[in-house]
């Protein structure tokens, strides 16, 4: 079993529901974003860099098969789960940020200070909390916690705490256009394998040799 994701850019409408769902469900501290949606070529979301040439690109952890972040972590806090997912053990991370230097996708985020303090700066209402409310351990390792430690790195965990309950990741469930799909990349007949094969699935930065398990399907060009 190798869990992978396919994002169909033809179906992505740039609504950023996945961004909000991800942020909320994973209780991301103020200022941290595991998942983002861009308008490639433009500095402003939804404004086309050129008339009729806009498309939207969601970016989060690519759960690479040759993951530099996993290899550089001196204490094995970033590690690979049996299904290929790259996870961060919040209890083990020493906060050296080597993984952030190693990741070519820039998706890793550091807790520069106590997240409770940042909540105040961003003027969240006193005592307001959001997201999956309990710690989640996978084989004893703390891979999700609603209230983060100061000084540790975090990133997309493929919603491992929901997988445990048989649910898809929050971004998949939150997508109104059904642009996101999760499945087994090892199985040639799985929905994701078929989509990648039949619709020219591609990766981000393939030249870096990281072999991501997140694939994108190119958007169709409109008739001119």
């Amino acid at each position: 079993m190798k869990r992978g994701m396919v994002i169909d850019l033809e179906k992505c409408i740039g609504c950023r529901s996945c961004v909000v769902a991800c942020k909320q469900h994973n209780a991301q501290p103020a200022g941290n974003w595991w998942n983002r949606v861009f308008t490639p070529g433009s500095n402003r979301h939804l404004s086309p860099p050129e008339k009729g040439k806009e498309y939207f690109l969601p970016v989060h952890c690519q759960h690479c098969l040759n993951a530099p972040c996993e290899k550089v972590c001196p204490v094995g806090a970033t590690y690979r789960h049996d299904d290929g997912t790259i996870l961060v053990d919040f209890e083990r991370c020493i906060g050296c940020r080597y993984c952030m230097a190693a990741c070519p996708y820039g998706v890793r985020q550091f807790n520069w200070e106590d997240p409770k303090k940042t909540m105040k700066q961003y003027e969240y209402q006193n005592g307001y909390t959001y997201g999956y409310p309990r710690d989640f351990r996978l084989n004893g390792r703390l891979v999700y916690m609603p209230s983060r430690f100061k000084g540790v790195v975090e990133k997309c965990n493929f919603c491992v705490h929901y997988l445990d309950k048989g649910l898809d990741p929050a971004c998949v469930r939150g997508c109104p256009g059904k642009a996101r799909h999760v499945g087994d990349l090892d199985d040639p007949d799985s929905n994701v394998s078929k989509m990648i094969r039949e619709k020219n699935g591609f990766n981000l930065l393939p030249e870096k040799g990281t072999e991501p398990t997140v694939f994108y399907l190119p958007p169709k060009r409109k008739e001119v």
Partner: protein
């Protein structure tokens, strides 16, 4: 104790206390007190690691030159070499400590080491090197232990011969270890295919070249401060000047060799990296090239080598240049967003994904593609504290231990 020594202890002591307090404060508040961001996740502390590791080299390279290649004129400086090596390699480790977000958890490095990580290799080799340089220093000092120090002296029949034999036996190992710390520290960066600026086969050899230059310059400074200008050391001054000059020119060759290859091919990624170094940080780059060049030209001049002040200033200039070089390890790596592309169907646009800075600032955008990093006051205070620690170790050992040999009349 002379007044200048007292002043030395006072200044280094105060700086160490200031640095330590700054670190405690940073530990309490978090790394938010630094000027690093998610997009620019390593700064002065990691540059400091590379800088101190570089300074540590010269020491043992020098010592082993004496015993492996018989450069006799350098013999009075052997102990100084081992001492600066020890002081700098420990400073390197202290420099990286404040960069750790959860320092209390460092025991995980022993409980759960990941041997794929170059950082683990570096921790191992730096500790080995610290132990080795201390042992080397001890063996070199053995014949000179007097008074209360005889208590820590190993009881051997002929300490002089014993010291000489074992120094010779250890020399090849220390040379390998000295080379090892640079290569492995360079590999922390050079292995990262995700950062074009670092991912180069020339980085490790270049680290060795820089280290031989700055490490020797440091031994040069300390020996002049210890012995003052001595006529009978002139041969040694000349040897050290030549070692520094050769190492510096090899470094410049390695560096520009890499630049020219990438510039000629002209790939966008490479040009962007080069433009950060040559345009955004142009003055710093000019300094890292010109300052050591000036120092080398001065040191190669016979007349300059008649004045201890001129030699010390030249060596300091060189070390400052090397520091600028170490600082520049970061900007071109972090100010370039790796996830940059030509959007589908828009081949004429080169676009970078903005990264969440991870910092709250009501006045600037949360998402950045460039971050003009300059270390914060806290970072500078901590770094100066570590620098003071290095100087303090050298001063203290000079004061208490028989480091300076007798100069033949």
């Amino acid at each position: 104790m002379s007044n200048s020594k007292k002043l030395g202890f006072l200044v280094t002591g105060l700086l160490m206390i200031a640095g330590f307090l700054a670190w405690i404060y940073q530990y309490k508040e978090g790394l938010v007190l630094t000027n690093m961001r998610n997009s620019y996740s390593w700064g002065l502390y990691v540059s400091g690691l590379a800088f101190f590791v570089g300074n540590a080299a010269g020491g043992l390279v020098l010592s082993s030159l004496i015993y492996l290649f018989g450069v006799k004129s350098l013999k009075p400086f052997a102990k100084i070499g081992a001492l600066t090596a020890f002081a700098n390699v420990t400073a390197a480790m202290f420099s990286i400590l404040p960069d750790i977000g959860q320092p209390i958890r460092l025991y995980n490095m022993i409980l759960h080491p990941n041997f794929d990580s170059p950082l683990i290799w570096d921790v191992i080799v730096l500790n080995l090197y610290a132990a080795l340089s201390l042992l080397y220093l001890y063996i070199l000092m053995l014949p000179d232990f007097k008074g209360p120090l005889t208590k820590i002296a190993l009881k051997v029949d002929q300490p002089k011969e014993f010291s000489e034999t074992w120094a010779k036996r250890l020399a090849p190992f220390s040379l390998v270890a000295a080379v090892g710390i640079h290569v492995i520290t360079a590999w922390i960066f050079a292995t990262q295919g995700g950062r074009d600026w670092w991912n180069s086969a020339v980085l490790a050899p270049d680290f060795i070249a820089v280290a031989v230059a700055s490490g020797t310059a440091l031994v040069f400074i300390v020996s002049l401060l210890t012995y003052g200008f001595k006529k009978e050391h002139q041969e040694a001054y000349r040897s050290m000047a030549i070692i520094i000059a050769t190492a510096y020119f090899i470094h410049i060759f390695f560096m520009y060799n890499d630049f020219i290859i990438h510039y000629w091919y002209g790939a966008k990624e490479a040009l962007e990296t080069l433009s950060i170094t040559f345009i955004d940080y142009g003055l710093t780059h000019a300094f890292e090239v010109v300052a050591p060049l000036a120092a080398v030209i001065l040191l190669l001049n016979k007349k300059i080598r008649q004045s201890s002040g001129a030699m010390i200033s030249s060596c300091i200039l060189l070390i400052l240049g090397v520091f600028a070089h170490r600082f520049l390890l970061m900007p071109a790596a972090f100010d370039k967003i790796q996830l940059s592309m030509n959007p589908l169907g828009l081949q004429h646009i080169y676009w970078s994904v903005p990264i969440a800075s991870g910092r709250y600032d009501p006045f600037i955008d949360t998402f950045v593609t460039k971050w003009h990093y300059f270390p914060s006051g806290i970072e500078i205070t901590i770094f100066l504290g570590v620098l003071a620690f290095m100087c303090f170790v050298v001063l203290f050992a000079m004061d208490r231990f028989p480091i300076a040999g007798e100069v033949k009349a």
